[in-house]
């Protein structure tokens, strides 16, 4: 049971969901500091512009993309009762999420390597 695409999809959706909620509140904490003026905002934002965080951004992108695509898959499955191809849909989401993560992650890493 624990190795079925359905369970892996369920577990990944929950793990990425929890990670994204934690990120959301951190993001609001950073962006909300804009009301404190330029110095406060830039100071807080700079904490997250180190190379380690740029790499973390790629993982964040992967989590967002996976969560979104798998959510759309789930919506299609339950709304239109497309249940007989669930395993193939899971692998399609996996490939699509990997492709979008690469397409979005490479520019982030190149930007970091160029001193961004």
């Amino acid at each position: 049971m624990y190795k079925t695409p359905g369970f892996i999809s369920f577990a990944l959706r929950r793990i990425t969901g929890i990670a994204l909620v934690l990120y959301l509140f951190m993001h609001i904490w950073v962006i909300g500091s804009a009301v404190g003026g330029a110095e406060t905002f830039n100071e807080r934002l700079n904490l997250f512009q180190q190379p380690a965080f740029k790499v973390a951004e790629v993982f964040l992108l992967a989590a967002v993309v996976w969560h979104a695509f798998d959510g759309i898959r789930l919506l299609i499955v339950s709304q239109f009762k497309v249940t007989d191809t669930r395993a193939s849909q899971f692998y399609a989401v996996l490939v699509l999420a990997a492709l979008v993560t690469i397409a979005g992650g490479v520019p982030i890493l190149l930007f970091m390597l160029n001193g961004g």
Binding site: L24, I28, A34
Partner: protein
């Protein structure tokens, strides 16, 4: 309205808002600083987009957390207080966030 319906409606909205957010705000990657915030929030349309985005993202995040937590049998008996807490947290975060975005003015 049930929690899963809230999740679905907010999810569809988020696909749209998150795509706009990522494409406009983060791609291609550039150095983000205060001046970028000023540039975007000078436009009332962006303020509206950001407030709507905040609304859906809070619903999705809080309803999702509620669903994950109450899936555990030991926590499920506290469904009502957890729901109350999530609604309260959502209202506070939305009010604070929306007022912050709407009233944001470039410092003189």
């Amino acid at each position: 309205m049930r929690v899963f319906q809230l999740q679905r409606i907010s999810a569809v909205a988020l696909v749209v808002f998150l795509t706009i957010h990522m494409v406009v705000v983060h791609y291609p990657p550039f150095h983000i600083d205060f001046s970028r915030i000023l540039e975007r929030l000078a436009d009332p349309l962006w303020k509206g987009i950001d407030i709507t985005f905040l609304f859906f993202v809070l619903i999705h995040a809080l309803a999702g957390t509620y669903a994950v937590l109450t899936d555990y049998e030991s926590i499920a008996k506290f469904k009502r207080p957890i729901a109350g807490l999530a609604i309260l947290l959502g209202l506070i975060a939305f009010t604070w966030g929306a007022l912050t975005i709407w009233s944001f003015q470039p410092p003189v």
